[in-house]
């Protein structure tokens, strides 16, 4: 006969029911639950990446391995006189787009945080629309606004007296348009993340600061920003990954021009593979970009772990 106390004791001692599975068993159960998802991720993401790396060691001009060339494709890619400029442009574009998006999102989130429930919901819907619509559709809309001669944006600029201004015709303004597009597309997503962070800050902090006579700017600097560190870091990494891999933005909005001013890594990879049929260097570039993405993902995981 089993006594009630004997059954309860282990539960109290170890914090887990004795009739449940052991730690090893629970791990096995957990592994079984995540196995289908992991299998899908491995087969859809990692296996093709391994396959791509394998292929990058061969001459694959006809999309079939002809002969082993070792690292020749990487050497060829590294010898491209444009490569450094492309990497520099990509880094500049990503940095500007991310910083601008987060700064804008912070302002928008702070403003929405002060609104009433209905107005806040309406504003959130409005700002998140560019993120949820198809990137291609968004890019096409953006291009139509700025494409010279028939764009609504240019028409408005002309009415304002800026005659002859064509933002897609100069390298500097072309990149500015691309950054503006990236910012427009991602600011809603960043706003939602930051807004969630803002809602998690206890009101007591602000009340205590008010009692101490802190100004609004001091509250922002000493309470809001430190408390938003984790959501801001997460937003930063996600947006960096998003912008580093965007092909639809430069492909549709600027076409990489003018004078290669907006030719960034994903577009260059796309052009190599699908316009120039240069799969050797395209695969090598793809593997390099995959490695960069993995590195950023690792940073993301570490940041989340450290700030959790």
């Amino acid at each position: 006969m089993i006594r009630a106390g004997a059954a309860v004791r282990p539960l109290l001692d170890r914090g887990a029911p004795s009739w449940g599975p052991s730690a090893r068993g629970r791990n096995a159960d957990g592994a079984a639950y995540v196995a289908p998802a992991m299998l899908l991720i491995v087969s859809c993401l990692y296996l093709p990446s391994v396959y791509a790396f394998f292929y990058s060691l061969f001459d694959i001009r006809l999309l079939g391995t002809t002969h082993f060339v070792g690292l020749a494709n990487y050497v060829f890619l590294g010898g491209d006189p444009e490569l450094l400029a492309i990497i520099g442009r990509s880094a500049g574009f990503t940095a500007c787009a991310v910083v601008l998006a987060i700064a804008t999102a912070l302002g928008v989130a702070l403003w929405i945080h002060t609104l009433g429930r209905f107005a806040a919901m309406l504003c959130q819907i409005l700002v998140v629309v560019p993120w949820v619509i198809s990137p291609i559709v968004g890019a096409l809309l953006f291009r139509w606004v700025f494409v010279n001669q028939i764009g609504l944006g240019l028409y408005a600029l002309q009415r304002l007296g800026l005659r002859g201004f064509d933002p897609l015709s100069s390298p500097f303004s072309g990149m500015a348009v691309l950054i503006a597009f990236a910012c427009w597309r991602t600011v809603g997503f960043a706003t939602i993340l930051l807004l969630a962070g803002l809602k998690g800050i206890p009101k007591d902090f602000y009340e205590a600061a008010s009692v101490d006579g802190a100004s609004a700017l001091q509250k922002l600097w000493s309470i809001t920003l430190p408390q938003l560190r984790t959501p801001m870091l997460i937003t930063l990494v996600i947006l960096t990954l998003s912008n580093l891999n965007t092909v639809e933005a430069p492909l549709v909005v600027t076409g990489g021009g003018p004078n290669l001013a907006t030719d960034i890594l994903p577009l260059d990879l796309y052009q190599r593979a699908f316009a120039q049929y240069d799969f050797n260097s395209a695969v090598a570039m793809g593997v390099g970009m995959f490695a960069a993405n993995i590195a950023l993902a690792l940073i993301y995981v570490r940041l989340v772990g450290r700030n959790a």
Binding site: R61, L62, L63, G64, D80, E82, V147, N148, Q149, I150, Q158, R163, D166, L168, S169, S170, P171, G174, L251, T254, G255, G256, G257, P258, N259, L260, A261, Q271, R272, A273, F274, A275, Q276, Y277, D278, N280
Partner: protein, 432 residues
């Protein structure tokens, strides 16, 4: 006993009902950018031709799997490696040598072309036909053939008192475009005389391309390397860009335009003449009317003829490892029959493949609304250029446009820009 007989009869009936399907049904998969369920005239034509073929070949079904056009050839090469390619595919014209080299297409001479008479061959013989011969046979028949020329507004030329024949020479084109460029009271251009596109993405052969070909008869050297970083190329590029800088008939914004933008600008009345392809003329006619849209070739220095220009299109071929190659070849032949050619050209507005189609329907092709088809067919036969068959190279338009951009927006020296474009072209095609 009677129960057993009934069951046996039912089973036999089921087997008999299924047997013809198992034995006779053959499904051919086809990759093309056309969707037979779409509303584009070429899509409607494809649906009609498939229907006719299926009716003539009971048990055969053609299943179209529409593809994104600029990724289709690459995807086909990948599917060839994976063993999952379709029985029939459309291959972008300049990529044919590479696809044949990959062993992905069947030699159509082995199926139906070997039975063709000299008259059949002569009916199709043009630059596309010759380019489809790769070493030991023909590997596809060209469809949706496009010719890069000039699309112009007939009504605007008439209003300005310009004869379209004037567009045959470069000075004539420039003079006409100057007349057609309109400015408002404030000096803003409301309509440009000549629309050009210098963007690298979605390019069309630039005017300098034709100037180079007319002057030196080739664009590539014997090793398939770019041969435009020379005085001929310099003159051509200078003449092309002077249309922006000196003549002011083309907007400086051409550096940010692709060929799709040109069609939009033409349709919106913002450009009187544009560099465009013949396949887009029906669309322009649909938007503006047949009495307003004309098509002609690229001007020449000689002035009494046209300069060579680029052609594009799709070779329809059979997958070399398909299960039903003979049947696929039969469909490809049917797609190009005299009857189908009439459907493609007279119903879908595509440039006719066969000379006989134009000859037998001369009155129809002479009508103003269809004149562009006869013009395109004539231009393809007489004034077109494709790279030598041993040259599996791409990107000449992109390279020349890159040079134009570097000069116009980057302030590069024209000679240096052309040299850099040539080096980049050679490098990307692994010719250095």
């Amino acid at each position: 006993m009677s129960w057993k007989r009934l069951m046996t009869a039912i089973i036999m009936a089921v087997i008999l009902a299924c047997t013809p399907r198992i034995g006779w049904t053959q499904t051919l998969r086809m990759w093309t950018m056309l969707d037979p369920n779409g509303k584009d005239p070429r899509e409607i034509a494809l649906k009609k031709i498939i229907g006719q073929f299926e009716a003539a070949n009971p048990g055969v079904t053609i299943t179209v799997e529409p593809q994104i056009w600029d990724q289709m050839t690459t995807k086909f090469l990948a599917a060839n490696q994976a063993g999952t390619a379709p029985d029939i595919t459309w291959v972008n014209v300049p990529t044919l040598p590479q696809v044949v080299k990959a062993g992905a297409l069947a030699n159509l001479d082995d199926y139906f072309m070997k039975n063709w008479t000299a008259r059949d061959v002569a009916d199709l013989d043009d630059v596309f036909w010759q380019f489809s011969f790769q070493g030991n046979g023909h590997y596809g028949i060209a469809h949706s053939r496009a010719y890069a020329g000039l699309i112009y507004r007939i009504d605007l030329l008439q209003q300005a008192g310009i004869n379209p024949d004037q567009l045959r020479s470069w000075p004539g084109l420039i003079a006409a475009a100057k007349k057609l460029t309109v400015r408002d009271a404030a000096g803003n251009v409301t309509r440009w005389g000549l629309g050009q596109a210098y963007l690298i993405d979605k390019p069309i052969e630039p005017l300098a391309f034709s100037m180079i070909l007319e002057a030196q008869k080739h664009l590539l050297d014997d090793q398939c390397r770019a041969d435009w970083a020379n005085p001929v190329g310099l003159n051509a590029m200078t003449a092309q860009l002077d249309m922006v800088r000196e003549d002011k008939i083309t907007p400086p914004g051409a550096v940010s335009l692709n060929v799709e933008d040109l069609y939009d600008q033409f349709a919106a009345g913002r450009a009187a003449i544009i560099r465009g392809t013949s396949v887009r003329v029906p669309k322009m006619i649909g938007l503006l009317g047949a009495d307003k849209v004309g098509f002609t070739g690229t001007p020449s220095f000689a002035g009494d003829t046209f300069s060579p220009s680029g052609v594009g299109g799709w070779y329809v071929g059979a997958w070399s490892k398909g299960k039903y190659i003979a049947l696929a070849a039969k469909f490809i032949e049917a797609m190009s029959s005299p009857q189908s050619d009439r459907i493609w050209s007279m119903e879908a507005g595509a440039a006719p493949n066969r000379k006989s189609t134009v000859a037998e329907n001369a009155t129809w092709f002479a009508e103003p609304a269809h004149a562009y088809l006869a013009a395109a067919s004539k231009l393809i036969s007489g004034y077109s250029w494709l790279p030598p068959k041993n040259c599996a190279v791409y990107g000449w338009s992109e390279a020349l446009n890159g040079a134009a951009q570097a000069i116009l927006t980057g302030g590069a020296e024209p000679a240096a820009a052309l040299r850099r474009a040539a080096e980049q072209f050679d490098r990307q095609n692994r010719l250095q």
